[in-house]
Symmetry: none
Subunit: 89 residues, 2 copies
Amino acid sequence: MDTGDRLLTPGEVAALFRVDPKTVTRWAAAGRIGSIRTPGGHRRFRESEVRALLEGEGMLDEGEDVANRPRNVGPTASTGPGPANAGMY
Amino acid sequence: MDTGDRLLTPGEVAALFRVDPKTVTRWAAAGRIGSIRTPGGHRRFRESEVRALLEGEGMLDEGEDVANRPRNVGPTASTGPGPANAGMY
DNA sequence: ACTTATTTGGGTAATTGGGGGT
DNA sequence: TCTGTCCCAATTACCCAAATAA
């Protein structure tokens, strides 16, 4: 079902992360952040995901381990993003 | 299965996509989204189609496990859950 | 027939996408 | 390797006034 969260524009996400909108676009292109495309081709980002990314950035452990490369995402397509946000407006 | 042909107004679709209602009208005019015209000339959109568009390409494995987040995404993971977007310009 | 909110139409500025190079 | 900036083309957002929907 629908996640039901608001969508953010690239500029909004860029402002939240204090980066250039192009950088946000690269994150989406690289698959580091989920993105929804409008029929026109522009991207929209889920606010819950962006906020989770923002909150999680203060993590510990910076082990740069190249040996750990999960090159393949399993077919376990978890459609719904974990948090069941019941924020319907 | 239930198609759910509820009709949505341009304002509803615009809110779902986080765009301007005028943009939704342009999508309909460009044939990117199906639309039904009222006798007065206003457009209505099918909820099932809108939802399919929203979830059709916004699906990415969203593991919010930043602690275990591999910074280097491996090589070309051809396991793309979604088909290559066929709407680029 | 009324009012209120939304949609329509055209035109112009701002944002976005993709590629390239620092 | 990652990010910021350049280009151009396409898409999108906001301005107006009139018509439609409920």
